[in-house]
């Protein structure tokens, strides 16, 4: 029988490796064991993918979406309804790391293709991911590699590959950037059918040997007639790359770090944890699945409950999953996509290639009000299936004292651990109306209402903002 602590740990895992799970799901996973659950998360192919046919039957506008927010809504649908939560969470991780935006690309289906690529290779070798990224049409256009020609280089992709995507500032020279850029000349997008009233047509990567600078280059101390793949091979073998990627994984999955631009001058909060991840990178030849296995099974991860501020996407998706009213195609996914944007994270359209600032910077006055209102409105609505299920769970326990009612509600939404101030507020509310009873129809109606209010209060708490 799963105990409360085991379920709490499983809740932690699913908040980080996915978008949360219901109490019933957590109980079932806990019966299977923590490491087995990690193994399932790391092997998403064991579970069915989202049924594209069903999605596009009911939401035909999602396929080749003509404009935002339809492409964002399509991704929101997948994040809520996937049976492969880590695959989707990794797509979000890579999107936040390799931030590519519609503000410039102006082609929603191509951004959706990029996310699909992250889904396909996101748990593989970092080298393979970088090669796919370098050949991804949306990225090529985003960072101007289609304008990077032999004899007339454009350094944008070469610079960001090193600065933002692999090594971080301070680990390469301006000359390295130029040489890397030379190696990526000729990596471009083939001629494409322009947009027209028949919809969008996909772009394709094209290698043009006549535009590729095949001369000798010197890059990070290595010399040769390098092309893009050679550059990536050198990059992924740099100690700085292992450390930079490890810190990103830690920041996304474990605990909030300082903002990325300060990493070259600010040490990690937990250097030992970073060392463990770097070792996993080195031992596995940069295999993301191997790094995450170490991460999720580590003590530093298990002890890091509620030490990250939920990103808007995490808050919106996990709350909608818990409320249970978006678990099939239906109108309304656009509003969830908009909600992410209103809270500061417009999916598929980050503010710049530097991506979003995370942690406490997700929160400002306006964003906090939106976060609280969104979560409280959903979890306080006792007509929604997920909330009904929580009410049913509490009812199955019989009459509950105010203290037990608070504990049960917290257990159902995480389980969520709250501080003394929050607990006191919740108890104050619960005690005001006495014992939760289910004896008569009037009792049931009143108790349902009180559970809804309690869940809304929990959703509005400071503690609920953390994952």
């Amino acid at each position: 029988m799963a105990n409360r602590e085991d379920i709490a740990l499983m809740g932690h895992l699913m908040r980080r490796a996915g978008f949360g799970a219901s109490h019933d799901e957590l109980r079932e996973m806990t019966e299977g064991g923590y490491e087995a659950t990690v193994d399932n998360l790391l092997n998403p192919e064991r579970f069915d993918p989202v049924d594209d046919d069903l999605l596009f039957r009911y939401m035909p506008g999602y396929e080749g979406a003509l404009g935002p927010p339809l492409n964002q809504a399509e991704w929101v649908y997948r994040m809520i309804n996937t049976e492969r939560p880590l695959e989707e969470k990794m797509a979000l991780f890579w999107h936040q790391l390799f931030a590519t935006g519609n503000s410039k690309v102006d082609n929603p289906p191509e951004l959706t293709q990029q996310i699909a690529m992250f889904r396909r290779v996101g748990l593989g070798k970092f080298r393979d991911i970088l090669v796919e990224l370098a050949q991804n049409p949306a990225m090529i256009f985003w960072l101007d590699n289609n304008g990077n020609h032999m004899g007339a280089i454009n350094e944008n992709w070469g610079r960001e590959l090193l600065e933002l995507f692999s090594m971080g500032v301070g680990n390469y020279s301006e000359e390295d950037i130029k040489e890397a850029s030379r190696a990526f000349t000729g990596w471009t997008i083939g001629p494409k059918i322009p947009r027209n009233p028949l919809g969008r047509f996909y772009w394709n990567f094209e290698y043009r040997p006549e535009d590729h600078d095949d001369g000798e280059k010197t890059f990070l101390g290595h010399s040769g007639n390098f092309d893009g793949q050679d550059i990536i091979d050198i990059v992924v073998n740099q100690p700085a790359t292992a450390r930079f990627l490890s810190r990103h994984l830690y920041n996304f999955f474990v605990a909030d770090e300082p903002q990325v631009p300060s990493w070259n001058i600010t040490p990690p909060n937990d250097p030992d944890a970073i060392d463990q991840l770097v070792a996993a990178y080195d031992e596995s030849d940069g295999d993301i699945r191997a790094m995450l296995r170490v991460l999720f099974n580590s003590d530093f991860f298990k002890q890091a409950r509620f030490s990250r501020v939920k990103s808007p996407a995490e808050l919106v998706i996990s709350t909608a999953r818990l409320a249970g009213n978006f678990n099939a195609p239906r109108p309304g996914f656009n509003s969830l996509a908009f909600e992410c944007a209103y809270q500061g994270q417009e999916l598929l359209n980050p503010p710049s290639v530097e991506s979003w600032h995370t942690g406490s910077e997700w929160i400002d006055g306006g964003a906090l009000v939106r976060r609280v209102n969104f979560a409280a409105n959903l979890l306080g609505d006792t007509s929604l299936p997920g909330v009904k299920s929580i009410v049913a769970n509490l009812r199955s326990r019989g009459a509950l004292s105010p203290d037990d009612m608070v504990d049960a509600c917290l257990e159902m939404v995480g389980p969520l651990e709250v501080g003394d101030i929050t607990r006191a507020e919740l108890l104050d509310e619960a005690r005001g109306a006495g014992e939760l009873r289910w004896d008569t129809e009037a009792d049931v109606a009143e108790s349902e209402k009180r559970v809804g209010v309690m869940l809304a209060l929990i959703a509005a708490s400071r503690d609920f903002q953390f994952a």
């Binding site: 046919d53 596009f56 039957r57 009911y58 939401m59 035909p60 506008g61 999602y62 396929e63 080749g64 979406a65 003509l66 339809l70 809504a73 001629p191 494409k192 059918i193 322009p194 947009r195 027209n196 009233p197 028949l198 919809g199 047509f201 239906r330 109108p331 309304g332 996914f333 656009n334």
Partner: protein, 333 residues
Amino acid sequence: MLTTVAAGRVFDYSYCIGMYGMSGQGFWSPQDFALADDNVMYVISRGAEELGQRISRVTQDHQFLGQFGANGRGDGQFVWPRSIALDGDGNVYASDDFLNRISVFDPEGGFISCWGEAGDGKGELNGPCGMAFDADGNVLVVDSQNHRVQKFTHKGKHLGSFGGHGKGDGDFNLPWGLCLDTDGNVYVADWKNNRVQKFDAEGNFLLKFEAAPRSGVGDLHGPTGVAVDSEGDVYVTDWGNHRLQVYAPDGRFITSLVGDAQQPSPWTQTYIDANPDIVKARRRVNLEPEWRFRRPVSVRVDENDRIFVLEANRHRIQVYDKVKDYEEHPLNL
């Protein structure tokens, strides 16, 4: 190829109609259409979320006559408009598989009434899709998420139903479109079972159109629409494979049509011609992906055996002629 010759039939590509339009001239994720008198067609657009839902009145020679219906839950409005059918008086019936109702409009688009109750009991609807009127003026409705076909009077009084959830003959799994032939037989696109089933007018199973047992020839992936021509040949929009499958009356596979719209519709051509950069870009690229079907969703055949194929993701209709007097050209040309 523009002309397809197979098993004694000749299908000749003619032209295409339509383009994307959020409103007004054009369609947005169109799901179904109906051929009316005087070359008029009604095309129902799904749109997306709260935009684009409507029925467009256009002619087969590219005139936009107007539109009616909009997003909403009130009279004459739609959330998920899906399919369309005309009664003997030319009134327009439109199904909505979110609101679980059938809305009725006069030929000019004036709202008349709506009927339908959500549920799984007799006469109740869960995801109504394709519709067709029989010779008695009653309407058959694919009750998709109840996995059955129901018959109603034109005012919505329930008359009967057939089918249930499953894989066996006469069962359905999320059926989508349907049509009747001149003998009153019913053809149902059994979407998730990847087949079309033929029933007599009483709903008795007769035949199925699907992949041949060993070769797999003539397979379907998510068939959505079906139509029968004057010679009994059966046309199926093979939505998941982006093609039109053609079968003989006995179920034998004849050929596939994959879309041949090499010449954009006049509406689309006007858009292209208005932008010199687009004209320039089109001269550098293989345009074949543009010709081909993308999510063909509904097919209709007129009294002259012209075949109209609606594509949800290209927002247009491609038209083929079934040529009856085709003479083979000299092969040594």
